[in-house]
């Protein structure tokens, strides 16, 4: 039972220290008394006996200390002592403590925010079986430059059966499910999924079953699988829903299963919406070459993405011979991880780099503050050294103080981070939130907290160690002599502090340059003429569902009545309907012109198809260059008409008058009717401001109502009337015509137009705040160095003034000295920025990573703030009365 006895003693010495120490005193007291008694017995008087006993015993205090050391808790005792002492020291200088804690809190908080985003997007485990073998299947068309395209059923089946790359390949297509029959109609994003989707992912339903192969057939009875959230919302988590009927898009579906709460959409493109439901019946006819699916595949073990693509391309090369629609398309696979993080990766990495720079600046500032403080405490350290404190004990003491500061700062930082994460989630583009649903949770995750703690410990060493070594090494006699004169500033400590300023300024230059480039990018993007006016326009989606709207004429009638009703509302100037909105949506399709009805495969023209109601151009204020707009006379029985954009006219009828020309939707030889061009619209930046114009074709709603899905209502209000203010009335008009149709995504066109810029806007907002932080901290750094140097040189200033120096020349002297490290820092920072800003090229638009304007502005900004930071202490010094200065100290 040796260990039990040891443990017992260990606990005794820890928890009953007072008692054990008292017993040791008693023990030694007894020893001494025995010895004294013996000595007296030998004939000494009491005093002599006591002295002799002490001599033979040794120094009791020291020996007691050494005995206590054997108990093994000395380190803890010292640590507790250091904490007590440290907290007393920190309380005694609340200003210093507050500045230090806030500096660290901002640095650590910023890191926690960005790290939790990086964690959510890049590191969160993906909850699927053998996720490394799962790929998202798309295709690209290298000759045309098209990437990340949907795939067709032909490809799904051919790749699955012939490529030999897949264990299994599932398909789904994004859809919109309108659920009716129980209360308010509701539209939810959903997916038409093949029965093998869930087995491929390796996910079991929470309740019920997944689809059977039989249910994939188009004419089989329809089944639906609900998301956990939908099931809770609509059925109050009733486990008896399995087998019940639900009306989806006007068709009766049997509820087959409910997916678990943890089941995530992470298999889908981040641009897709989070599905609330999966419905059966994807069919996938082998001959269908329309691109309306996405694929999810499980690769055979040992097959890499590259190998799989190569094997699939062999199949593609064969099937493109059979269908011209498939010409030029090749497989494009994305691993799940890449699919989730791909688009945000550059932005997140830039931000992560930025916050690390901020933290380094904060550390440099802390080191600076601690050095200055160490110098004023030189007397204290010297006294302790003289009393026998070892250097390691003093370093431990100072490091404990630093640790207390960084722990407090870290705690505050983590609290700030929960706010920061909410802010970031508010700024984040929708797809980032989709792929990183944990983003808004902030530091709630244990691993994020562990990261923050690691940051705290690292920073403690980064900023604390050098000042601790420096302060504890000060020459004993020198310091004791200097005490009362504000401490010593040795040459090496001055150099060290200047080096810190150089680093801070250099890092700040890099951050400011990054932020500046983003500001320039955003301002360039927002100045791009989009070709339409988003001001005063309200949009909403009305996904018509139900049997009656399978009749095209019913759809037309519905919209004519809604638009007439909306136009009659006060404050509404015009209203229209369209399939896609500019900036939001793309429906590429082939067409041929009458001049070239049979282009060779691979050169078939394509354009974005927009189905638009009358007044579409007027509502979005897209000017027509030639011809006319759509009107009420364009009906089912009149001539089929089309409006093209300038880009299409330029590309296919260069130098000719496009009016009266004819084109035909679909692949060459399509049996659709020819359409006559009646108008030419101005180019619109329909894919966002940073992308080039595309050929676009507008067709009138009344002639092509079956193409109108989903449907967006557009309402322009009169000047001075906010579009949001009519939203309620517009929705009422929709319900007046058909109360069974939901109106979803009610938002202003300005919001829609801003969406493609959200990632850049988020990066800009965060970089600007980080750069602001960096500027503030480094200015503080310059200020504190100059302030400290001036305080040290008060006497010298006095002498100079007594000898006739003008305040102005003193100012110049001090500012000049203070600015020297700043200038070095700016130059170093420029070099660093030139190397680092290249990494953000992907995020920039209309500005080069080495944009001279940005760099000049950044330097000027830093020089101005630094001059200010030097000027304040310098002015104080130059105002000093020489007599006072000379008597100072």
């Amino acid at each position: 039972m040796v260990w039990a006895r040891q443990l017992w003693l260990c606990l005794q010495t820890l928890f009953r220290r007072g008692h054990v120490a008292q017993r040791l005193d008693d023990e030694i007291q007894f020893h001494l008394e025995q010895q004294i008694a013996e000595n007296m017995a030998a004939g000494m008087n009491r005093e002599e006996a006591r002295h002799a006993a002490m001599r033979t015993f040794g120094n009791p205090t020291f020996l007691k200390e050494e005995t206590r050391d054997t108990w093994g808790w000395t380190w803890l005792e010292q640590f507790v002592g250091d904490i007590r002492y440290g907290s007393r020291m920190l309380r005694r200088s609340p200003g210093f403590t507050a500045v230090a804690v806030v500096t660290l809190a901002l640095g650590i908080g910023a890191n926690t925010v960005i790290f939790s985003a990086v964690y959510a997007a890049l590191m969160l485990p993906i909850p699927f079986k053998d996720v490394d073998r799962l790929v998202f299947v798309m295709k690209n068309n290298p000759p045309r430059g098209w990437i990340r395209n949907n795939i067709s059923p032909t490809e799904v089946i051919s790749w699955r059966e012939e490529s030999g790359a897949f264990e299994d390949l599932a398909a789904f297509s994004g859809a919109s499910c309108v659920v009716t029959g129980s209360g308010e109609p509701e539209e939810d994003p959903c997916e038409v999924a093949s029965s093998n989707l869930f087995p491929v992912l390796g996910v079991r339903p929470f309740l019920g079953r997944t689809f059977s192969a039989e249910e994939d057939k188009a004419n089989a009875p329809k089944a639906a699988i609900l998301s956990y959230g939908f099931w809770r919302r609509h059925f109050g988590a009733d486990e008896g829903v399995i087998g019940r009927a639900i009306v989806v898009n006007g068709l009766v579906h049997t509820i087959a299963g409910v997916m678990p709460a943890s089941f995530s959409h992470l298999y889908a493109t981040p641009f897709g919406a989070l599905p609330e439901m999966w419905v059966s019946g994807i069919a996938l006819p082998r001959q269908d070459s329309d691109n309306d699916c996405w694929g999810v595949g499980r690769l055979k073990p040992g097959i890499s993405v590259k190998q799989a693509e190569a094997q699939m391309d062999v199949v593609s090369a064969r099937i493109e011979q059979e269908s011209s629609d498939l010409h030029g398309w090749r497989a494009q696979l994305l691993s799940f991880r890449e699919n989730i993080s791909g688009d945000t990766l550059p932005a997140l990495l830039v931000l992560m780099g930025a916050v690390i720079l901020v933290l380094l600046i904060a550390c440099a500032n802390m080191a600076n503050l601690l050095l200055a403080r160490g110098a004023t405490r030189a007397g204290e350290f010297a006294t302790r050294t003289a009393l026998g404190a070892s250097r390691s004990r003093m370093v431990a003491q100072l490091m404990t103080e630093s640790l207390m500061l960084s722990l407090t700062g870290g705690l505050l930082g983590v609290l700030l981070a929960t706010w920061g994460c909410k802010g970031m989630a508010a700024l984040a583009p929708k797809y980032l939130l989709n792929s990183a649903p944990g983003l808004a949770n902030g530091a709630a995750d244990a691993r994020v907290l562990a990261f923050s703690l690691a940051i705290v410990l690292t920073t403690t060493f980064l900023f604390g160690l050098a000042p601790a070594l420096q302060s504890s090494s000060s020459e004993l006699t020198e310091s004791l002599k200097e005490t009362g004169r504000g401490g010593a500033q040795t040459r090496s400590s001055r150099h060290f502090r200047n080096a810190l300023v150089v680093c801070q300024i250099a890092l700040a230059v890099i951050l400011l340059a990054g932020a500046g480039l983003m500001v320039r990018t955003l301002s360039t993007l927002s100045r791009v003429d989009s070709g339409f006016s988003a001001r005063n326009v309200l949009t909403m989606g009305v996904p018509l569902s139900g049997e009656q709207y399978k009749q095209p004429q019913t759809v037309v009638d519905f919209w004519q009545r809604v638009i007439a009703g909306v136009k009659a509302l006060p404050g509404v100037e015009s209203a229209s309907v369209s399939r896609d909105l500019p900036v939001d949506g793309w429906a590429g399709q082939f067409f041929t012109t009458a001049e070239n009805p049979n282009p060779p495969a691979g050169q078939v023209p394509d354009a974005n198809y927009l189905v638009a109601g009358p007044d579409y151009f007027q509502t979005l204020q897209i000017p027509l260059k030639r011809g006319r707009s759509f009107n009420e006379l364009d009906t089912q029985t009149s001539e089929r008409v089309v409006i093209v954009n300038e880009e299409l006219a330029r590309k296919y009828w260069p130098g000719e008058d496009p009016l009266g020309k004819q084109l035909r939707p679909g692949s060459p030889g399509s049996d659709r009717p020819w359409l006559t061009v009646v108008g030419v619209a101005t180019n619109v930046r329909s894919q966002g401001p940073e992308l080039p114009f595309q050929a676009e074709i507008y067709v009138p709603l009344e002639q092509f109502p079956w193409m109108l899905r989903p449907q967006n209502l557009l309402v322009r209000t009169s000047n001075g009337i906010r579009p949001e203010s009519v939203a309620r009335a517009v929705v009422d008009q929709v319900h007046l015509v058909d109360a069974g149709q939901p109106a979803v995504d009610v938002k202003t066109m300005e919001t829609v137009a801003a969406e493609p810029l959200m990632q850049q806007r988020m990066v800009m907002a965060l970089l600007v705040s980080f750069a602001g932080l960096a500027l503030g901290l480094s200015t503080l750094g310059v200020y504190s160095v100059v302030f400290y140097a001036v305080a040290r040189r008060t006497k010298e200033m006095g002498i100079r003034m007594a000898l006739g120096a003008q305040p102005k020349s003193l100012l110049r002297l001090i500012i000049g000295t203070g600015l020297r490290p700043v200038v070095v820092g700016i130059v170093a920072g420029m070099v660093g920025a030139l190397m680092l800003t290249r990494l953000m090229t992907d995020l920039l638009f209309g500005v080069k990573p080495n944009d001279p304007t940005t760099f000049v502005v950044v330097s000027v900004l830093l020089v101005v703030t630094s001059v200010l930071a030097c000027y304040l202490p310098a002015r104080r010094a130059s105002k000093v009365d020489p007599m006072v200065a000379l008597r100072y100290e």
Binding site: V2, W3, R5, Q6, L9, C10, R23, L24, D26, E27, I28, F30, H31, E33, Q34, Q35, T56, F57, G58, N59, P60, F62, L63, K64, E66, T67, D69, T70, W71, G72
Partner: protein
């Protein structure tokens, strides 16, 4: 003369510390003793050759106690005072045997070297 003396600065080196441990273990192997008695006993037995600085016994005693080689008990002395008596544990007895054997081997070896010259 072997002086087991720790002058109050720095730790005794391993050899000296090991020797002091051996002396203590041996001294209390017959009967429980308190610190002063141990010091006296070492001095007496060694014919005043081993001058143990009395105070340096205590760190050693506490270290041995931490290792569970010796145990302590507060008892009354013949003079009626409370004192802390140390005695060997089973582990301590084993340790004593080991160290005593080491010591005889070492001293025999040293003797051999010294006398052969």
């Amino acid at each position: 003369m072997l002086v087991v003396d720790n002058h109050g600065m720095g730790k005794p080196n391993d050899m000296v510390q090991g020797t002091l441990d051996l002396l203590i273990l041996k001294t209390i192997s017959a009967e429980p003793r308190h610190g002063w008695a141990i010091a006296k006993r070492i001095q007496q037995i060694s014919g005043e050759v081993l001058q143990v600085q009395q105070g340096s016994l205590y760190p050693a005693l506490h270290r041995l106690e931490q290792r569970a080689w010796i145990k302590a008990k507060w008892k009354e002395t013949e003079t009626g005072r409370q004192a802390k008596f140390y005695s060997l544990t089973a582990a301590g007895r084993a340790q004593l045997e080991k160290e005593a054997e080491n010591w005889s081997r070492l001293s025999a070896a040293i003797n051999l070297v010294v006398e052969t010259t």
